[in-house]
């Protein structure tokens, strides 16, 4: 095997590994731009991995992905409602969503008969496609690569983006200018959560082909870190998601090399993605500015 073969192998895995993180993080950027901070991403990914698997089993992969998106929308609506109209504390809701999801998914898997595990039949998984870029790639990879550009365009070049920024930065002024703050925030949070839902469904309906009680494995929190990394710039989300996916894949890949064990203990290698992310943030990115009204409900005076 040449170095290049290894590189393409790692690239192949990392392109898949980045999908759930990047999707969830792109969605979260939309929400946070509008001023809503949802730390329940982990829960959304986990729950929609379950509903996605059940949906795919019932009606094929399209239904599965839609079920994941639907789950994201439902949780996003709940989160959005509580944090806008009901003036609730966003952090608390997010923590609650995570706990609820962890409990409910494991509980539901027990009820399904095979506790902790549920497989999606091969025929109900998203079919891979062959492209000039590579064989057997998931079509969702291309969506994931394109979406941040779309989000970037949306945020920086359109009226909608302006509105989102306004309600996130200075909701009172936005209100005076005639923007309906709460509904704008609610929609942004719901749209954002739907992407996290798609990311969750991707894991079970496409990537791994099954759902387990811990399938999200901290990816929601990594997505959160990616958002902070990006400073709410969707293009940097793409970069952050890729860096993380790449180094995670690299770590798992090279830990299988027979020679590597003589050089470094296996426990050290999986630390790489986290250390690299820290270095990049500390070295190149540093202080990022968040919307002034992030995390606070808007109360009209």
């Amino acid at each position: 095997m040449t170095i290049l073969d290894h590189f393409f192998g790692i690239l192949f895995i990392s392109l898949h590994a980045m999908v759930p993180i990047t999707l969830a993080a792109t969605g979260e950027v939309l929400g946070e731009t509008a001023g809503l901070f949802n730390i329940g991403l982990e829960g959304i990914i986990l729950l929609s991995a379950l509903t996605g698997a059940l949906g795919a089993e019932a009606g094929g992969w399209v239904v599965g992905l839609l079920a994941g998106i639907g789950t994201g929308v439902a949780i996003g609506l709940l989160f959005g409602l509580i944090s806008t109209y009901w003036k609730g504390d966003q952090l608390i809701v997010g923590v609650g969503i995570n706990l609820l999801a962890i409990g409910f998914v494991a509980f539901q898997l027990i009820i399904l008969g095979a506790p902790g595990f549920h497989a999606v039949p091969r025929a109900a998984q998203v079919p891979n496609i062959n492209t000039p870029l590579g064989k057997d790639l998931s079509p969702l990879i291309f969506l994931t690569l394109a979406l941040p550009f779309f989000a970037y365009y949306l945020l920086s070049r359109t009226q909608v983006g302006l509105k989102l920024k306004a309600v996130g930065e200075h909701p009172a002024a936005a209100d005076v200018a005639g923007i309906r703050v709460n509904i704008t925030r609610l929609l942004a949070a719901t749209g954002g959560a739907s992407l996290a839902g798609l990311g969750g469904a991707f894991i079970s309906v496409d990537w791994i082909g099954s759902v387990t009680k811990e399938i999200s494995a901290g990816r929601g929190f990594i997505a959160l870190a990616t958002v902070v990394f990006s400073g709410l710039n969707p293009l940097l989300v793409l970069l952050g998601g890729f860096i993380f996916g790449f180094f995670e894949s690299l770590a798992t890949w090279i830990s299988t090399f027979p020679g590597i064990k003589a050089v470094v203990r296996w426990e050290i290698v999986p630390m790489t993605p986290y250390i690299v992310t820290l270095l990049v943030v500390a070295g190149a990115i540093g202080r990022v500015r968040f919307p002034a009204a992030l995390g606070r409900p808007y109360i009209r005076e």
Partner: protein
């Protein structure tokens, strides 16, 4: 005239009553509002759990009876609830200190691991009984604080957001723990765990035949300490002011790096202690198993505890006991009506989501409003 004087006297009595008794009582009730809110949210969470049980054909009355019996129903179960609460109080404090200072410090998870490992490492040495315990506690505490320092420095020097740095350090701590457990601190006879804390450094069991140890006193002591530091010292005031209104603090000349450093290091102390107290007082093994099954989620559960406890040390104690009770009661709930343990997490989640909604608390405002109307009349 006499009648008028009587009425005047009555009025004075009424005024006195309000000033001395009913007024303070009403104010006390108002002050305790967070408590009522948490209680209401608890009830709603349990109701959500009951509805889910009904949907899946479990009997919620049986289940909640078992939950209660297994959490606060007997001295044994209460001890188990308190044993679970012991580390959660401390990790709850970690989050609360951070949030009070305007930091979203979710590094408790990793600091717990490091604190526990430091405590274990101290059992590589032999020391006299009392001293060993104190030195081990200090080691856990310092290790937790040391692990929180890089995040603090990155925040202060480079402006790296604490969410990103603490998540990364949690994972690094995770794999570092794997390394230390399997190699440096490994029990030579049983490689699936670390060496056990030596008897000289263990917290004695407080209630025989339960998991409750004297470690809970450490937790309670730190609740008092944090309460004192945050509310009765200058630096504590500055930390809270920074969390409340950072812009005003800048004008007042409060230095951001000082408050951030204080919040991180205090948080590290409490989280490190949580890990140390847990391994020093958790029978029967007094050790960490590979896979970290005893420590995983102590940090993240502390986040929930801090939320339910409204980021107040006293509230955190109550919330931690409540959480610990749910965990202890859940063990029994799965035996007798056979409700899977996972449902407990669903209930916890529903409670926390409910807590976030101030709207639901209107009922209590209504109650308070009536009281005020009566007073005016």
């Amino acid at each position: 005239m006499k009648g008028l004087a009587f009425i005047a006297r009555l009025r004075r009595l009424k005024a006195w009553l309000f000033a001395r008794l009913i007024g303070p009582a009403a104010r006390a009730i108002a002050r305790l509002r967070p408590l009522w809110e948490s209680l209401l949210a608890g009830l709603i969470g349990l109701a959500v759990g009951a509805i889910i049980m009904l949907i899946y054909h479990f009997n919620p009355i049986q289940a909640y009876f078992a939950l209660f019996r297994g959490s606060f129903g007997t001295v044994y179960s209460l001890s188990e609830a308190l044993a679970n609460a012991t580390p959660l109080i401390l990790t709850g404090l970690t989050f609360a200190i951070g949030l009070r200072g305007g930091l979203f410090n979710i590094g408790a998870e990793g600091q717990v691991y490091i604190g526990a490992l430091a405590a274990i490492a101290l059992s590589l040495f032999k020391l006299p009984a009392g001293l060993h315990l104190i030195v081990t506690l200090l080691a856990g505490m310092l290790a937790g604080a040391l692990w929180s320092l890089p995040a603090a420095i990155l925040k202060i020097a480079r402006g790296v957001h604490e969410v990103i740095s603490t998540i990364m350090f949690n994972w690094i701590a995770h794999f570092l723990s794997f390394y230390l457990i399997a190699n440096i601190l490994v029990d030579p006879r049983r490689a699936e765990k670390t060496i056990s804390i030596l008897p000289t450094a263990r917290f004695p069991v407080l209630m025989p035949r339960t998991s409750l140890s004297y470690g809970i006193l450490v937790s309670i002591f730190f609740v008092g300490l944090v309460l004192f530091l945050l509310w009765y010292t200058t630096i504590g005031f500055e930390v809270r002011a920074m969390g409340f209104n950072p812009a005003a603090c800048r004008y007042a000349g409060i230095k951001r790096w000082r408050t951030a450093l204080f919040a991180f290091v205090m948080g590290g102390f409490t989280a490190g202690l949580a890990g140390a107290v847990d391994v020093m007082g958790r029978p029967p093994s007094y050790a960490i198993f590979s896979g970290l099954g005893g420590l995983v989620n102590l940090g993240f559960n502390g986040l929930g505890v801090a939320m339910i406890g409204r980021n107040h040390p006293v509230g955190i104690v109550l919330a931690a006991i409540f959480f610990g009770g749910l965990m202890a009661g859940g063990r029994l709930m799965q035996i007798s009506p056979g409700v899977p343990l996972e449902l407990i997490r669903v209930v916890e989640g529903a409670i926390i989501i409910t807590l976030a909604v101030p709207e639901l608390i209107r009922i209590f405002r209504l109650f308070r409003g009536k009281l005020l109307i009566w007073r005016r009349a």
